[in-house]
């Protein structure tokens, strides 16, 4: 097998791999929504409800240190 042939096979399999990754990602997005692990579409509200006093869509969790600090430990 000469170099050109190896390149051709590598090219084909790499393309097939990338296509699999792309469709795998789409599948992952839809499956996690269907299983209820994640609701991606709610994040779209972040642009609309964006006053500093608005309730965050998902509040950032406090770090362990700051939780301890708040409890006075």
């Amino acid at each position: 097998m000469d170099l050109g042939e190896i390149q051709a096979y590598a090219y084909f399999f790499f393309t097939a791999f990338l296509v699999a990754v792309l469709y795998g990602y789409i599948f992952h997005l839809y499956r996690s929504e269907k299983k209820g692990t994640r609701d991606y579409e709610k994040y779209g509200q972040m642009a609309l409800d964006d006053e500093v006093s608005s309730k965050p869509i998902e509040k950032k969790e406090e770090s362990v240190d700051s939780q301890k600090l708040a409890k006075g430990e």
Binding site: I26, E41, A47, D50
Partner: protein
């Protein structure tokens, strides 16, 4: 943080960058229109001695609009959108506020020095990377400051998830940092060999390698200055202004990763039929064509966001700017891949079709998005109603006409030029000499300059409208500001 006053977003830095956007827009585009007239009427080259020649002014135009107008627009929107979608105010961190102000000062100083050095003819001669090494260091400094601002604000955010726009700002930050550093690897000749002035340098790369690095940089400057941060803008401003959440968040995820993966490999299309290895040219072509998918993913997502709300296109001039902007994004991201096909490139390369293509994207997509973003921000920054809706409408139609004249004349000019260069008689001799093409192209150059002038008039209308808003727009209550559709004077 004072407990007496309710927390509010602090737009000080955003305001400063808004003014810079307008100022650099006027400077960069006035120079652009002037050099467009020089192409049609060469006598205009002799008005200001060496400082008025096309060769001095062209880098001033490209740097002025890319790194002056566009970049100020990117920074202005970052200091606005960043706070809002992360739900954190700059007023909460005096450190980030100081970084933001320093960012602005170093940035403006750099761009002003760029104007002076480019006018004086001090240049590395690398397209879009003309600035000499001392200025490159200043660019690095303000870029790092921007990075501190981005990641600092992310660090103190209230919203756990980063909104789509934030990903695109981060991508722009990381990619430009990498591009800037690697393409500006240069040797200061005075310090290394005692040759030239202290600010002179030569590239670290030679020959074909230099060309490859240069066009990896050049094309990705388009990607990460003219595309990703502008996509960041539209993902925020179009949903907000229309009151419609983005059509599909999942599609935005897919388009983002697609764009990130593909864009960096497409630069080779600038070097088709040159001395770089053939496989690199082919790779550049192929990746350019694949690039249609993620680009159209974002653009279609934006158009579908308007689903059921298309009557806003008639009633709201800001929606007009953004929808047309996203349409021009689709047009230029289809046109680019077509030009990257080897056989089309054989005809198109070095012709006027290329600046035609660039200006579809920059005037139609980048310019319109920044104009709309600044209009949207103005009432929120100054708590004033936008001064005139009619002026906005006039500006929109003038500029749209300008863009159409620009690209149609350049399409015709470019293809005519390409066909004339390759035409041969039955013996294989070239049918035309270079001057024949110049004569034929003259009317198209004139039309292009007129198109550019119409766009520039629009920029002056935009500046005037924002100035009048600040000076004499109706004062707004908080409740009137905190709405989706930008408040504007309907009858003026």
């Amino acid at each position: 943080m004072g407990n007496q006053n309710p927390l509010a977003y602090d737009y000080t830095v955003a305001k400063w960058f808004l003014w810079a956007t307008i100022a650099f827009g006027i400077i960069g585009m006035t120079v652009g229109v002037f050099i467009a007239f020089q192409m049609a009427f060469p006598e205009l080259n002799y008005l200001f001695g060496e400082y008025g020649t096309f060769s001095r002014l062209r880098p001033l135009h490209t740097n002025g609009v890319a790194f002056g107008f566009t970049m100020s627009g990117i920074f202005a929107t970052w200091y606005y959108v960043g706070q809002r979608v992360l739900k954190v105010s700059m007023a909460e961190s005096s450190f980030l506020m100081a970084v933001g102000k320093l960012h602005f000062i170093v940035y403006v100083l750099t761009i002003l020095l760029a104007v002076v050095t480019l006018l004086s003819g001090i240049t590395t001669s690398k397209e879009y990377a003309e600035l000499e090494w001392p200025l490159d260091l200043m660019v690095t400094l303000f870029w790092v400051l921007w990075g501190v601002s981005i990641f600092g604000l992310i660090g103190i955010r209230r919203e756990r998830t980063l909104y789509i726009s934030i990903w695109y700002y981060i991508a722009a930050f990381l990619a430009v940092a990498m591009l800037h550093v690697f393409n500006n690897m240069e040797v200061p000749t005075y310090f290394v060999a005692g040759v030239g002035d202290w600010y002179h340098s030569v590239s670290l790369y030679a020959g074909t390698n230099d060309a490859l690095v240069q066009w990896w940089y050049g094309h990705n400057a388009v990607a990460f200055v003219f595309t990703t941060p502008i996509v960041a803008m539209i993902y925020y401003f179009l949903p907000k202004e229309s009151g419609q959440a983005v059509y599909s968040y999942k599609l935005s995820l897919l388009s983002f990763w697609g764009l990130m993966f593909v864009y960096l490999w497409a630069g080779g299309h600038h070097l088709i039929y040159s001395t770089v290895p053939d496989w690199m040219q082919t790779m550049g072509s192929v990746f350019s064509i694949v690039l249609i998918l993620p680009s159209w993913g974002s653009a279609i997502n934006m158009l579908l966001t308007m689903k059921g709300e298309w009557e806003q296109l008639q009633s709201n001039p800001l929606i007009k700017f953004m929808v047309l902007g996203s349409t021009f994004y689709m047009l230029s991201t289809l046109e680019g891949p077509i030009q990257a096909i080897k056989s089309v490139n054989a005809l198109a390369h070095f012709t006027d079709w290329i600046p035609g293509h660039v200006h579809d994207g920059t005037l139609g997509w980048v310019g319109f998005m920044i104009i709309a973003a600044m209009y949207h921000m103005t009432p929120r920054l100054f708590k004033k109603e936008l001064y005139s809706k009619k002026l906005m409408e006039t500006q929109f139609w003038l500029q749209t006409m300008g863009i159409v004249l620009y690209f149609s004349s350049m399409w015709i000019a470019g293809i005519t030029q390409g066909m004339m260069w390759r035409a041969t008689d039955e013996f294989g001799n070239l049918s035309y000499s270079f001057i024949d093409t110049v004569t034929v192209l003259h009317p198209y150059y004139t039309i292009r300059a007129i198109g550019g002038a119409l766009y520039l008039i629009g920029i002056f209308i935009w500046a005037y409208n924002i100035y009048k808003t600040m000076k004499s727009g109706r004062e707004l209550e908080d409740a009137e500001v905190n709405v989706n559709k930008s408040p504007m004077a309907e009858n003026r």
